[in-house]
């Protein structure tokens, strides 16, 4: 295993998966508090046709352009969800499910066409479905790293503004913060994180990387800053370990391993977490029960007659 991990390409891939995990962990906290956990899932699926159409236009697998195509397509999906939901009685839930599946269907349609054409089979576009971090070349890694740092920077630099925007939008407005600008920024960082993640994790599972670390972090803290930090750690470590494991086997997909590692963190947090963890809750409940039963035991009504 060490021989695989020590080759320089793998090291770069590992490094970029870690940074991706960190970015996704941080952005995931934003969407957790916006209560839009599954939005990332819908947008990731909606990105697929964009990837394939861009490939059809430029004719080569240049990650930078594919990412732009993916972003446009995901934004179209976001716009469509918003439009349907605001102008009919169809709920957000249904609008998301529709967008997700219809865009994905279109993506698969086009992908089949691409794979059929000569040379298309080598395009490696299939790896966008489950993610194949090992298939990344150095230029892909550079693009990914640059965009991930951009996302992390935006969220950290505007930490105070994000906090206001998430928890007290009307107060933020009173302070002169433009909510529509924040909405645009939020959508930008969300979509960027999703599209840089689809090469490594795949369109189907990238949502997990945004959802699971932030929810796990929530079990340890009440402070937003700590939650960001923890979520970034969980995301980064899952990214690194998952990628390392998938490098062991030939052609093992990266996405699923990253998700399973993240899920392990979640289970640990769910059970042992300091805030609302099951174990602690249970212990507190038992303690209270005991205290209560003792109280009742001393109550004169429950004392036996004649004692």
């Amino acid at each position: 295993m060490w021989s695989i991990l020590s080759t320089s390409n793998t090291q770069w891939v590992l490094f970029s998966a870690t940074i991706l995990g960190i970015a996704a962990g941080i952005v995931g906290c934003l969407s957790y508090w916006k209560k839009q956990s599954l939005m990332s899932d819908a947008l990731a699926h909606a990105a697929l046709p964009g990837v394939v159409i861009t490939f059809l236009i430029i004719g080569e697998k240049n990650l930078f352009f594919l990412i732009i195509g993916a972003a446009i397509s995901a934004l179209l999906g976001a716009f469509f969800i918003q439009w349907v939901q605001s102008s009919t009685r169809i709920t957000e839930d249904t609008a998301m499910g529709m967008t997700l599946s219809v865009f994905f269907g279109l993506g698969i349609m086009l992908l089949t066409v691409v794979n059929r054409t000569a040379g298309g089979n080598q395009s490696g576009l299939d790896s966008f479905i489950f993610g194949q971090a090992a298939a990344m070349v150095r230029s892909d890694v550079n693009t990914m790293l640059a965009l991930a740092f951009f996302v992390i920077l935006i969220v950290i630099a505007g930490f105070k503004e994000w906090k206001l925007y998430l928890f007290d939008p009307s107060f933020a407005k009173g302070l002169g913060l433009s909510l529509s600008l924040m909405n645009v920024l939020y959508t930008t960082v969300l979509v960027t994180t999703i599209v840089i993640g689809i090469q490594a994790v795949g369109v189907i599972l990238i949502a997990a990387l945004l959802i699971i670390p932030s929810v796990s972090a929530r079990y340890w803290t009440q402070k937003l800053k700590t939650m960001f930090l923890l979520s970034a750690c969980f995301g980064g470590i899952s990214g690194a370990i998952g990628t390392a494991i998938s490098a062991i086997g030939r052609g093992w997909p990266t996405g699923p391993f990253i998700v399973v590692v993240a899920a392990l963190f979640f289970i640990i947090s769910l059970v042992f977490g300091k805030e609302k963890g099951i174990l602690l809750k249970h212990l507190q409940f038992r303690k209270q029960q005991k205290a209560h039963s003792q109280e009742i035991g001393h109550h004169p009504v429950f004392q036996k007659e004649g004692k």
């Binding site: 599954l38 839930d93 249904t94 269907g105 349609m109 959802i211 391993f257 899920a263």
Partner: protein
């Protein structure tokens, strides 16, 4: 019967049963639950395959129902632990799906179970696996399974029609009338699971979501009556299955992808043209109000 006819019949059966089930998914605001279940059904199928080494028949159905119920149960459990509903869905289905994919790609990758197949479905192979039935003769296995599932779905809907109606529109009233809403919830989840697994072979895990949700959402824009919505939704399902097949045949591409795309076209048409909830009629109405 010809090859094309079998494909169209199979696809129409998918459209019918998905269209019926989808109506309740949309009305109960549980559309994303079908996305979650369609992913985890994969794990059920893989585990059933690992245990029995057989790829067809009741094992798969049972595995799928168990996986679907497990998903519904875990999501509900996490939700009760104070976690937002969509977040708990996101955690449960991605994790179970990831486990399924890992099992396939590491241990049985060279077996008949193929991840690409499971996700996108391969309706073109459906007519090749046939079984002998009395009277009708050789019938594709998938088609038989879909017909049985459709029968179960229709019977369950008809038998509990009143209960479905009340629990979907007014759960509080249903509870006060003594209708077992928890039982109805899990019964419904089982129906979603068997429909998903039966449609799996034909359209794959993700496109089944399109067949479930989109025709029902389109029908929701045309009518306010449950019975008409059920009729419309299932016809939309069948129409998009057939249109999808011909689009795919025309540009030679994935049939299930085109079917999902066709449901999208029907939705766009409904969204623009529906007399009461459509975009055009509403924006025209707004203009008229401005003039008067």
């Amino acid at each position: 019967m010809t090859y094309t006819a079998w494909i169209i019949i199979t696809a129409s059966l998918v459209g019918l049963s998905c269209g019926l089930i989808g109506v309740f998914l949309v009305l109960r605001k549980m559309a994303m639950m079908s996305d979650a279940i369609s992913h985890t059904v994969l794990l059920g199928i893989v585990v059933a395959y690992l245990m029995t080494r057989e790829l067809s028949g009741p094992h798969m159905l049972i595995g799928a129902i168990l996986a679907g119920l497990l998903t519904a149960f875990l999501v509900q459990w996490l939700h009760n632990l104070d976690l937002e509903l969509h977040a708990s869905m996101g955690i449960v289905f991605t994790t179970l799906f990831a486990i399924g994919v890992i099992l396939i790609s590491t241990s049985i990758g060279n077996a008949h179970l193929d991840i690409q197949h499971a996700l996108m479905g391969e309706i073109t192979f459906v007519p090749f696996h046939t079984m002998e039935l009395p009277i009708v003769g050789a019938v594709p296995v998938t088609t038989v399974m879909l017909a049985v599932v459709l029968l179960i779905v229709v019977i369950t809907i008809i038998v509990f029609y009143k209960e479905w109606k009340i629990t979907s529109f007014d759960p509080a009233l249903a509870a006060s009338l003594g209708i077992p809403i928890v039982f109805m919830h899990y019964l419904f989840m089982s129906l979603v699971s068997i429909t998903t697994v039966a449609a799996f072979d034909a359209v794959g895990a993700i496109m089944v979501v399109a067949m479930l949700i989109t025709p029902a959402a389109s029908a929701y824009l045309w009518t306010d009556k449950l019975s008409i919505m059920l009729l419309l939704s299932s016809s939309f399902g069948v129409i998009s299955a057939i249109i999808g097949y011909y689009i795919a045949a025309w540009i030679d591409t994935s049939i299930s992808g085109s079917m999902a795309f066709a449901t999208g076209i029907i939705f766009i048409i409904s969204f623009l043209l529906s007399p009461t909830h459509g975009f055009l009629s509403r924006s025209l109405g707004k203009q008229r109000n401005q003039f008067s």
